[in-house]
């Protein structure tokens, strides 16, 4: 049974899951850290429990506290969202042990796919092509990695075994760079996942990152919901995603083959619930398994908009033991969807994270625009968590319509008080290469500039700045002038005397 769901997460994904539950008439239990009392997931859930101090390791990563809240609140299911405990075998196991339904795959499937190196070995045995690397070697020490590296050949990627979201990932172009990069990657992986293990993978150049969404039920049915294009990345973090991929586009045969391989990879570990198989696709349309994310993906909304399937509701349906609501033949992609991840960071200052209070948030609305967010006017963004504060997802009948709609949505979106990467997205959407679908995973970092030297309206900017400066000057002058007036003085004196009575 799933009648009361504890959401072991925060931010936009916690809100997303609470909404799905509400719409299914399921009660919700939020957990929150000391930094999150004013967070939207606390306000929108039916119940909310404080689980510890702000740092994740003291709150959102504390399996014991979360299981305890589940028991106290009578939650009969847990949704882990993404990040935090979503891909921790122990967490799924602890839920199982406590008799709580884990809305996700079995612990064994998480374990098999969670250790990225083991996962690659597993799917290779199932006949799924992988990028060459250290799969099947287990956890390696630095000296072992240094020894193996030349056999794979440079350039290489160091990846966190427990990884995801680009954390603990480093590119290495020659043997000299390897030791410091290993140290940095392990340090970041340890901080992000509590696990410093890493593995190596050959860096495929000119490749695209395309992933397949799959859903599997407990009755042995596995379907795929088409692909997502995720090549627009910065520091190995996805920035913008779309579905379909402009690279796959009309090649239904490629889509079908990738879908079949994805389903086969899932079946290889007895996968149940929603999952994503990430592939690298080279220029010749060869595709290689990268990893499987055994949880809901940040970018799941683009698939929802083109297939009409609510993935979170479908996850709950599967967790309830029902059959998938649609067979493969009933799943079609209609139109085009794009998602822009809005991060609290300064695109003009090396993407430094930006924290602070959101003094205003004017959200784009209207036809074809969906926003998944958890910020609101007056909300203070804590510094302890991910910088993702909002996702803008636009649907259009064609890629062109979706792009134009996204442009107008981003122009409408006004977030005041913190800096965001919205200008980055606006530049991207104006880039001819992006518009033409001509990009690989290196595009954003290597062939794209946030160069505003040639920006089109310097005169307007000059006028705006001058008017603002002029007004500020006048206001300052007025305050001085007002200070000289009698009425105002009388007021101050009155207050002063009241105080001294």
């Amino acid at each position: 049974m799933v009648t009361k769901v504890l959401i072991a997460n925060r931010g936009e994904i916690a809100v997303r899951i609470i909404r799905a539950c509400r719409e299914l008439g399921i009660e919700t239990v939020a957990v929150f850290s000391e930094a999150d009392r004013n967070a939207m997931h606390v306000r929108y859930a039916d119940e909310a429990y404080l689980i510890g101090p702000a740092p994740s390791r003291d709150s959102y990563l504390r399996i014991d506290k979360i299981i305890d809240v589940a028991k106290r609140s009578g939650a009969d299911a847990v949704h882990p969202g993404y990040g935090f405990l979503a891909e921790r075998e122990e967490f799924a196991g602890a839920c199982e042990e406590a008799g709580i339904t884990f809305i996700g795959p079995k612990p064994s499937a998480i374990a098999a796919m969670g250790d990225k190196a083991v996962a690659r070995a597993t799917v290779t045995r199932a006949g799924v092509p992988v990028v060459p690397g250290t799969e099947g070697e287990g956890a390696l020490r630095d000296d072992e990695i240094v020894a193996i590296a030349p056999h794979i050949g440079f350039p290489l990627l160091i990846k966190a075994t427990a990884g995801g979201g680009g954390k603990g990932m480093r590119e290495v172009h020659n043997p000299e760079e390897l030791p410091p990069a290993l140290a940095a990657a392990r340090r970041e992986a340890e901080a992000a996942f509590g696990d410093g293990n890493v593995y190596l993978e050959k860096l495929v150049t000119g490749a695209r990152h395309i992933e397949i969404q799959i859903m599997a039920d407990t009755h042995g049915n596995v379907v795929h919901l088409g692909e997502r294009e995720c090549s627009i990345q910065r520091r190995h973090q996805k920035v913008l995603e779309e579905s379909p991929s402009p690279f796959v586009n009309d090649d239904d045969d490629l889509r079908r083959r990738m879908g079949q391989v994805a389903c086969r990879a899932a079946a290889a570990v007895g996968y149940v619930n929603a999952g994503t198989i990430e592939f690298l696709v080279d220029r010749d349309k060869n595709f290689f398994f990268l990893e499987m994310n055994t949880r809901l993906q940040v970018e799941h909304p683009v698939t929802e908009l083109v297939t009409g399937i609510d993935i979170v509701k479908e996850q709950i349906r599967i967790a309830r033991g029902r059959k998938l609501s649609r067979e493969q033949s009933e799943i079609a992609m209609t139109g085009w969807a794009i998602e822009c991840r809005v991060n609290a960071e300064d695109p003009y200052n090396n993407f430094m994270p930006s924290t602070g209070t959101v003094s205003a948030s004017i959200v784009p609305t209207g036809p074809g625009v969906r926003v998944d967010t958890f910020i609101y006017s007056g909300y203070t963004i804590p510094r302890y968590y991910d910088s993702l504060i909002s996702k803008v997802i636009c649907w259009g009948e064609t890629r062109g319509e979706a792009l134009l709609r996204m442009r107008r949505a981003l122009e409408e979106y006004k977030i005041v008080g913190v800096k965001t990467n919205i200008p980055l997205h606006q530049h991207l959407l104006n880039s001819h290469r992006f518009m033409g679908g001509q990009f690989d995973t290196r595009f954003l970092e290597e062939r794209f500039q946030m160069d505003d030297e040639g920006a089109q309206r310097p005169e307007i900017a000059a006028i705006l700045a001058t008017l603002a400066a002029h007004r500020r000057g006048q206001k300052a002058a007025q305050i001085v002038r007002r200070g000289d007036r009698d009425t105002s003085n009388w007021k101050w004196v009155g207050r002063y005397e009241r105080m001294h009575r």
Binding site: A344, T355, Y385, E411, I463, L464
Partner: protein
């Protein structure tokens, strides 16, 4: 009031005599400027053309974010500029660079030592915030003259972390 306003390589002479007009290099424009909901967000009608922009004062000038483009704008009182020129200008500003924390966070490490020479772009401090490790780099070559923080410190925004001298 007359202003000399510079954007990128261009300088405009902008005259503001009332609330409804500006004169830019001799050309008169109708204007109507309103703040949107008390924020540093403005709606400008300029000869009926509608623009929305964030306009805020930065460290070195005014920052205007307009249709996805950021402009760094210097606004100077034209009379003040004239007086300064008459008094003889041209002071070369060289001095210490104080590395400030761009956001609150945890110092992961400080991979330089006092007295060490650094080149432009050299990593000075690694700062963790929002789950990201950020490498704070040197904006120019120089020598680390003072270090005021160490790994494990929690620092506030704008706190000086170290100083680079000549």
């Amino acid at each position: 009031m007359k202003y000399l306003t510079a954007v990128n390589d261009q300088t405009y002479l902008i005259e503001i005599n009332d609330d409804r007009h500006v004169v830019v290099d001799g050309k008169v424009y109708d204007i109507d400027l309103e703040a949107v909901g008390d924020q540093p967000l403005y709606s400008l009608l300029l000869d009926h053309h509608s623009f929305e922009a964030f306009v805020d004062e930065g460290d070195t000038g005014w920052l205007v974010l307009l249709r996805g483009d950021l402009y760094d704008v210097k606004v100077e009182d034209e009379r003040a500029v004239r007086l300064a020129k008459a008094a003889g200008a041209g002071v070369v500003q060289v001095g210490d660079f104080h590395l400030k924390a761009p956001m609150p966070g945890l110092i992961v490490s400080v991979p330089v030592a006092e007295g060490q020479k650094v080149s432009k772009g050299g990593i000075l401090v690694i700062l963790e915030s929002m789950k990201m490790q950020n490498e704070l780099k040197s904006p120019r070559a120089g020598t680390v003259t003072r270090i005021k923080t160490k790994g494990g410190d929690n620092v506030e925004q704008n706190q000086v972390l170290l100083t680079i001298g000549e």
